[in-house]
């Protein structure tokens, strides 16, 4: 099959006071080895819940249906929807790693950077000799383009700038040589000049390490920089997916079109907002969840959730207009 990750009709349900909601609803996605998929969505779209499902980190009480196959060593497939906690320990960190928006909340503030990378290496290769681990720590930092790696390994997270902290996070995430990296808004808290460097670093590492990258963001400009393919998520569902250039240049779904028109650029006077607000998951309309905000809405939009309709090779959207 050649896929690294193959998600088929994945649904995550969570119990709330108002009944069960589906933050992830019949999501199907594929990522090939070395491929970068950008997952675009606003708050409440379900993009983070999807990534937590892929890491086995869903909140207690969550119900998962569907499949998410990860190609493992020796050509076997692991279904991530159906792993024991023991099996997760082998997958998390070693086969799938994750980096987050705010490295300060995911780094341990009282441990030196080097010690934290050591832990990541030892967790997956417990027998490794001390001097080899030390060398691997420095190599991991060098790999993430951290300047003066020996010095940084001895420092604590608060002694590093935001950009360096994110590099240290990347070094830690990649120290065990995973095949898939999930990056959840990794540059949102950074200044633009630092963001540019981190995006370039992730792109280089992906190519060097044949790393599958699931890059989650709300920022279409950022996704244009890193992703080869894009999936757009709204109210728990993928509403459009295709090659990055096609999705950004010829968006098919009115939501994608609206998001592009509402994203500020350096051009002045072109901004057009989407009316209304993202719907609550407890109050989704029966048909297309975007219909209440859509200027092209018609009767059939409310009758049922539109199936994916293809427009051209690999580019499709859930919209009755196609």
């Amino acid at each position: 099959m050649g896929e690294l990750l193959n998600i088929h009709s994945l649904t995550v349900e969570l119990p709330t006071a108002a009944g069960w909601v589906r933050p992830v609803n019949e999501v199907s996605l594929r990522i090939a080895p070395g491929e970068a998929l950008g997952l675009v969505g606003e708050s409440g779209s379900g993009k983070t819940m999807l990534s937590l499902a892929l890491m086995g980190l869903l909140p207690p009480g969550a119900r998962v249906t569907g499949e998410a196959f990860l190609a493992s060593d020796q050509g076997q497939q692991k279904d991530l929807t159906n792993l024991s906690e023991q099996e997760w320990r082998d997958v998390r960190g070693r086969e799938i790693a994750m980096i987050f928006q705010e490295p300060m909340t995911s780094l341990n503030p009282v441990l030196r950077i080097g010690t934290q990378i050591e832990e990541a290496i030892w967790a997956h290769e417990p027998g490794l000799a001390r001097h080899l681990v030390d060398r691997r720590v420095i190599a991991a930092l060098e790999h993430a383009a951290v300047p003066e790696p020996e010095l940084r390994a001895h420092q604590f997270p608060h002694q590093l700038s935001g950009g360096l902290r994110q590099r240290a996070m990347i070094a830690m995430a990649l120290a065990a040589r995973p095949k898939l990296l999930i990056a959840d808004e990794p540059t949102t808290a950074l200044d633009v000049t630092v963001q540019k460097q981190i995006l370039e670093l992730l792109d280089r590492l992906r190519r060097d390490m044949e790393l599958g990258l699931l890059f989650i963001t709300h920022d279409l400009g950022v996704v244009a920089k890193v992703a080869e393919r894009i999936a757009v998520m709204y109210a728990g569902r993928i509403v459009e997916q295709g090659p990055a250039a096609d999705v950004l240049r010829q968006p098919l779904h009115p939501y994608t079109q609206g998001l592009l028109a509402a994203s500020p650029t350096l051009e002045r006077g072109k901004l057009r907002p989407i009316p209304g607000a993202v719907p609550q998951l407890t109050q989704l309309p029966p048909g297309c969840a975007f219909a209440p905000r859509c200027q092209y809405r018609r009767g059939e939009c409310e009758r049922g959730v539109p199936e994916f309709r293809p427009a051209q090779s690999g580019h499709s959207a859930r919209c009755v207009l196609l």
Partner: protein
Amino acid sequence: MIPFLEVRNLRKYYQKGGGILAPAGKGERFAAVDDVSFFVAQGETFAIVGESGCGKTTLARMLLRLIEPDEGHVFFEGTDLLTLSPKKMREYRRQMQMIFQDPFASLNPRMKVGEIVAEPLAIHEPKLQRSERLAKAGKILERVGLDKDALARYPHEFSGGQRQRIGLARALILRPKLVVADEPVSALDVSVGAQVLLLLRELQAEFGLTYIFISHSLPVVAQLATHIAVMRAGQLVEFGPADLILTEPTADYTMELLAAVPQVPRDPVL
């Protein structure tokens, strides 16, 4: 002619590495805002852009004396605000209001929206009856795009975009001349942020407002600014008309910031 707002040689110093845990005498003084001067004419949107730690928020707060400057002057319609007594300053403050980045943190969760929006009236126009205050609050809420029934509800019942509208209503109820907006759309979703930006533009025309607009984002600033000042390490590296700064910047740093903005490839189809 007296400029609407003039900032002259404004400075603010902080201690490096201070804090209660730092050893006594530690840390050198550094200038968070270092000799900043500029003019703003009435009706303009003067944007201050810079990366985190550049001093833009400190600068904005000093304009309203929410932070006391160490040196310099802030002239508002010719009056140096820094020489005013606290009582006099309060009178001036009703003409200048602030809106904040985080609409979740800036509204008192235990007050009803009506009280939050009407509170400035209670302070500055104590003779008004409560019912008159609430009537005015209802009107301004409607103007910023919320229903009148918002008056009796609490902040947590509203989305981020709606809360930012509540903050705007509170800022505008005294009909100020100057509004300082500190990252007003940074915490909002793209589609909602665009709504708030366009609303700010409408309200500016309608109420004759002058904006000081603080942001880290050049694309956001480009939507509203008539003038842009680029700030780095406490100093303005350049400022001028927005069109000029965006298309023909002269400072290397501005060019660097512009080049780092991730752009979406566009087709004219849209």
